[in-house]
């Protein structure tokens, strides 16, 4: 299955949607499938300053706990309370209702170095 073409992807399986100076971050379908059923989501609270490469929160599944990282520094302006209340949204709709945080960023250019959908999919082909 192909990942959405309008997003950018990290090798550590986060996706980024850039709208002006706001980026929305979530984990990819591949990551959600690998983690299996997600049971707990804890984004960093609104107002937290995240450095580039820093953790924006964590997700926990039946199997394991993982940090989720942002390729871009910024400040948390919104967290997905629906996903906190129902972590299974991250499994069922990772690119939609299962997003994790929105960051206000001064400079979204680091996202340009990330993978596009085709590159991300081919990196994970056969997995």
């Amino acid at each position: 299955m192909s990942s959405p073409a309008d997003l950018k992807y990290s090798k550590s399986h986060e996706w980024f949607r850039c709208e002006g100076n706001t980026i929305t971050i979530g984990i990819t379908k591949h990551a959600a499938d690998e983690l299996t059923d997600i049971t707990f989501v804890e984004p960093k609270p609104v107002g937290t300053v995240i450095s580039a490469g820093g953790a924006i929160g964590e997700v926990e599944s039946v199997k394991t706990t993982s940090d989720v990282f942002s390729a871009c520094g910024g400040t948390v302006v919104e967290v997905n309370v629906a996903a906190v209340a129902d972590p299974s949204l991250v499994n069922s709709d990772p690119y939609g209702c299962g997003w994790l945080v929105k960051l206000a960023v001064a400079d979204p250019t680091p996202l340009k170095d990330l993978l596009n959908a085709a590159a991300y999919d081919s990196a994970n082909a056969g997995h």
Binding site: D37, T39, E60
Partner: protein
């Protein structure tokens, strides 16, 4: 996140079935097994509500026949094999000389000189070596039938009703009893046993006909209302944990004795005293000494605050000092709270004792609770 290579892994007779149902395959003790077919939590609920089909063909099945088969099993098993009735299953540990566990097993008595031992997949080769090294001059045949047979577990409150359509005898079996059935040309061993805390059966049958024979239970599995649906190893783990059942490598291992692990029911400490024909078992002296000295640690159930899961190896603390360690943990799908098992000193093992669990990113409060965490309602 890594994906295990599946090239060198063994396939059970149900491998194609797993793939047809979208099984997410993982390497487990040398076998390519389904972790889940979609959602571990949904599979868990399906078993508690209705029924699940588990391929457990990866577990070791070793047949012991001959004049001294019983004497040999009494030598390596902590339970007494002498006196088992034909058609009876018995849970036992296989211990080392120090009283640690080589494995936990289920013994099937087919006849007074014919037994089957079902063991954990990961321990099969180790056990075969241990059995070979312990046989001495006893006369019996040991036959590893793991590959020539298959094994499935059907577990859940509606399983017996379903089986009642095929057999009147099986639903009348008592717990830990088995019977043999002929179906067409297939010979089945059906036992009322399992590893989920639910009613149900485990079925052992020849591997060549296994898929065909099991299709009768799996006819409508793809419909939403199917009584039985395929269930993977993920749900098998969370089900056994809710039921307070030990898993080798977590609650028991070579360094952990069964008494400390709360499995005293699986140890006949005075074997051979009241009937010397039973003989004594490997590890008996060590376990008697452990029992006499009094247990220092105990396996307890914990209920954690919040929704984060404790994992194996995480410290259990009280007032900042470490008491013990988590052996298994999960967010219980049935109870909707975080549960775990842990070893703690006996002084801290009382139900109601408040402790903390260090989750690595901060501690959460937890309380010692009775096990099992979940008990199926009586039918």
């Amino acid at each position: 996140m890594s994906t295990t290579s599946t090239s060198a892994l063994m396939h059970t007779p149900f491998h194609a079935l797993h793939l047809e149902h979208g099984g997410r395959m993982v390497g487990y003790a040398g076998w390519d097994m389904p972790l889940t077919y979609g959602s571990i939590i949904e599979e868990h609920h399906q078993v508690r509500r209705s029924g699940g089909f588990f391929d457990v063909s990866h577990m070791g099945r070793v047949r012991f026949t001959g004049r001294h088969a019983r004497r040999f099993l009494d030598r390596v098993c902590t339970r007494q094999i002498l006196g088992m009735e034909v058609g009876q299953c018995r849970y036992s540990l296989v211990c080392n000389e120090q009283g640690g566990c080589h494995d936990d097993v289920l013994i099937y008595c087919y006849d007074e000189d014919d037994y089957l031992v079902v063991c954990n997949a990961a321990n099969r080769e180790k056990l075969l070596r241990h059995f070979e090294a312990s046989r001495g001059d006893l006369a019996f045949k040991m036959d590893d039938q793991t590959v020539s047979t298959a094994m499935v577990a059907l577990q859940g409150p509606k399983v017996m009703e379903l089986i009642g359509n095929f057999s009147r005898e099986i639903p009348s079996l008592k717990r830990y009893r088995f019977t043999q059935k002929n179906m067409l040309v297939v010979k089945l061993t059906v036992s009322r046993t399992g590893y989920t805390g639910e009613d149900g059966v485990e079925i052992i049958l020849g591997s060549t006909m296994a898929r065909t024979a099991m299709n009768m239970f799996l006819k409508d599995v793809k419909s939403a209302t199917a009584i039985i649906k395929p269930t993977g190893l993920g749900a098998r783990d969370s089900l056994r944990l809710e039921a307070g059942m030990p898993l080798y490598g977590h609650e028991i291992d070579e360094q952990t004795d069964p008494l400390t692990a709360g499995l005293a029911f699986g140890v006949k400490l005075n074997k051979g005293d009241d009937d010397e024909r039973a003989g004594r078992f490997i590890g008996q002296e060590a376990l008697q000494a452990i029992a006499q000295a009094g247990l220092k640690r105990k396996l307890v159930g914990l209920k954690l605050e919040g929704r984060r899961s404790a994992r194996q190896g995480m410290p259990v603390t009280k007032s900042g000092s470490q008491l013990g360690v988590i052996t298994s943990g999960c967010l219980s799908p049935t109870l909707d709270c975080a549960i775990a098992m842990a070893f703690v000193p006996v002084e801290n093992a009382e139900v109601g004792t408040a402790v903390e669990v260090d989750l690595g990113r901060g501690s959460v409060a937890a309380q010692v609770v009775p096990m099992p965490f979940y008990k199926a309602p009586a039918p």
